[in-house]
Symmetry: C2
Subunit: 417 residues, 2 copies
């Protein structure tokens, strides 16, 4: 038996679906990439709902969105909850958006009960979690925690040559009167709800995942440099064909790294060929590598082998392997995890501990204050796809557990780290 | 000792360089793809020069440009000379343009001598020789000879989804008063001057290449279909990663087909990955194959193996291999070849017989009336690159030989096939 949810489930679902209209794709998904017009429209809609409940919007130099419900003690470190509003180019309705909307609904529901919380509660939407338009992702949370320099973030460019800096300035211009907070601040805790993006909760018939930590992740950008030539005239032996070298590398990487064990995840997701014309020998291939594993030792060893395999298969081309993300696996705050498990039990939802296979902004926040995550199931474990789906009951259950944890902790003193 | 050229070498070079300003790239090359604004501008400039010499422009349903110098007998089959005005995206100043401008200069020089030719002489610029924007290339000449249906040609689309039909209608609208000829007509002969796009003339110190024929060519479009998924959560064993399958195919193809013998040319020049995001397992990879060899038996056997290697490496994805171009090697008209060799000797230019490694529109015209080609050297054999270069003396020599052959034949009865 589950108890009455602490939030308004219908309002939450209706708003989540309304948000999914922004950047909606014909196949039922969402294309709302970081700092796009779609994300501007999503901000406007979310800010509108927040204002109705007396939450105050603000932003920072990294383009993060903060929606603050004032607490009794404005000087106490606030309680931070949220996720992200950007999507993959062929993403779904829930990845990121479910977490922001569940957080907003939890705060609004608490506010409707009348009592102000002991401290400020801030709903946050982090900038560019996905990293599909501007690589690598999680720029907003990494800027917030100081892990990445704003100059380096602003310098990254999308496929059309637009820099994060240009896109960010344009984004801020769309919200001219919104106050800017200094980048980064102390918080008492960070909580994030997210769809699992894997099949484990569904397979176990569990509604709530108490996330123990996030598997480690490394990403690389690899550039193969050869020489352009005419496909009909340049003899094979005189070619420095960047695509041929890439094919050898990618084949060797998949064969070795992709088969290390059952837990390894190895992906070459993005490939750009220059000049990419049928009758021209390619001069340049750049590609992305995404590598994940829960064991940091396996991850490190695989990272070394990736560089070696690229070099071994490069000749007669040149190859450069640039590490981008190096995020070891982590463990979330034990007291927050216990609070989530306790709230799920009290509300009658089945719950289990689960390791996050995907990366999340919570990984970065966990380095500077107590953080944890709540997972809800998604159909067939499918995410980063247009048919991504979470059941309305599961969204409501997750938001209700989030609201209970929030009510328990935002009225209490800060957790000691 | 070379004799005085039959053409105005300075005018030819000046105009060729002026033409290269249209679509000029920062690195000194030309990006003037088929049916682009750049090609419209190139037509305007070339038509302007043609009108000054009383040549009359016309076009056809395939977007070919014809510039006619009227002969004494308007009913006799005309003499056709030319090449193409479109370029690769990172092409050079000479590929195609040198042939059109040499043809125009030869006709203008003859016209300036006062006597009208026995038959019409028509300078032609064929539509979409390169095939980089719309694949496959040589659409204009194949439509002219009836080898490809106009409906099929009009249905092909570029990377932005624009069809040839849409681009062609827009192109024709840019020249509203230009007469349209019926598609295809009988001609007494076709001659085309082109840079060699290979190193043989330069290595031999020869100025004029008498082209014996064109090596055979096959092209294919291959589509690998897998399933999209989250790079961090979907287990390797459950993936249908289209990029991983492509890497195996491309690696196997390069290893086997690319090493058949010293004469084989095998190129994967264009690769499109969907959705092409760093943290999404690719669902679809489509790629082009360009295969060339002077021996049709080798070409046919390699074509069979390509389909087999793609199938063998596809699982757990699906693969579709679609043949596009199937052009066997051919031999050009022996009487035209003899006329070219004779003109070179009379003018004192070193000449040699040479097989064309690259494909040209002349391949198609040769099927319906006598055809031949004149090659001139290009630096380091480099073509389809921005630093492509031909010496002014070589351009002038080629145009002068072209003019002499034209003078000899356009005043004479048609060659018997």
């Amino acid at each position: 038996m589950t108890s009455q949810p602490l939030i308004n489930a219908d309002r939450l679902w209706t708003r989540l679906m309304a948000l999914a209209e922004i950047g909606a794709t014909p196949a039922g998904g969402v294309n709302r990439q970081a700092l796009s017009d779609g994300e501007i429209a999503a901000w406007r809609r979310v800010i509108g709902w927040a204002r109705e409940a007396d939450l105050t919007p603000s932003t920072d130099a990294a383009g993060n969105l903060f929606l603050t419900l004032a607490g009794c003690d404005r000087a106490a470190p606030p309680f931070l909850i949220g996720s992200h509003l950007d999507s993959q180019p062929t993403g779904g309705k829930f990845d990121g958006a479910a977490g922001v909307m569940a957080a907003l609904e939890a705060v609004i529901s608490l506010a409707e009960q009348g009592d102000a919380p002991a401290r400020d509660i801030i709903v946050v939407a982090w900038m560019n979690e996905e990293g599909s338009r501007f690589a690598p992702g999680m720029m907003g949370s990494e800027a917030f925690t100081g892990e990445r320099d704003m100059d380096a973030i602003r310098a990254a460019r999308d496929a059309d040559g637009v820099s994060v800096g240009e896109a960010l300035d344009r984004f801020h211009e769309a919200f001219p009167v919104m106050p800017h907070r200094p980048l980064g601040f102390a918080a008492s805790a960070y909580l994030e709800l997210h769809i699992e993006q894997g099949p484990l909760l569904e397979a176990a018939g569990c509604t709530i995942g108490v996330v123990t930590g996030i598997q480690g992740k490394k990403t690389f950008q690899v550039v193969v440099e050869g020489a352009e030539g005419h496909a009909g005239t340049l003899a094979q032996r005189e070619r420095r064909d960047a695509l041929a070298a890439f094919a050898r590398m990618a084949s060797a990487l998949h064969a070795e790294i992709g088969t290390i064990d059952a837990e390894i995840k190895f992906t070459i997701g993005r490939v750009v060929v220059v000049p990419n014309a049928p009758s021209v020998v390619p001069s340049r291939v750049s590609f992305s590598i995404d590598l994940r594993h829960p064991d940091n030792a396996v991850l490190d060893a695989a990272g070394v082998r990736i560089a070696i395999l690229c070099q071994e298969n490069a000749a007669p081309c040149m190859v450069t392997v640039t590490p981008l993300v190096n995020a070891p696996s982590n463990a979330f705050d034990s007291r927050l995890r216990a609070s989530i498990a306790e709230a799920a039990r009290e509300q009658g939802h089945s719950a289990m501990e689960i390791l996050s296979a995907a990366g999340h902004d919570a990984r970065h926040l966990a380095k500077i204050f107590p953080a944890a995550m709540i997972f809800i199931p998604c159909r067939d474990g499918a995410s980063h796809v247009e048919h991504e789906w979470a059941e309305p009951d599961h969204v409501a259950a997750g938001a209700s557990v989030l609201a209970q944890v929030l009510r328990g902790l935002a009225f209490a003193p800060a957790i000691e780290t």
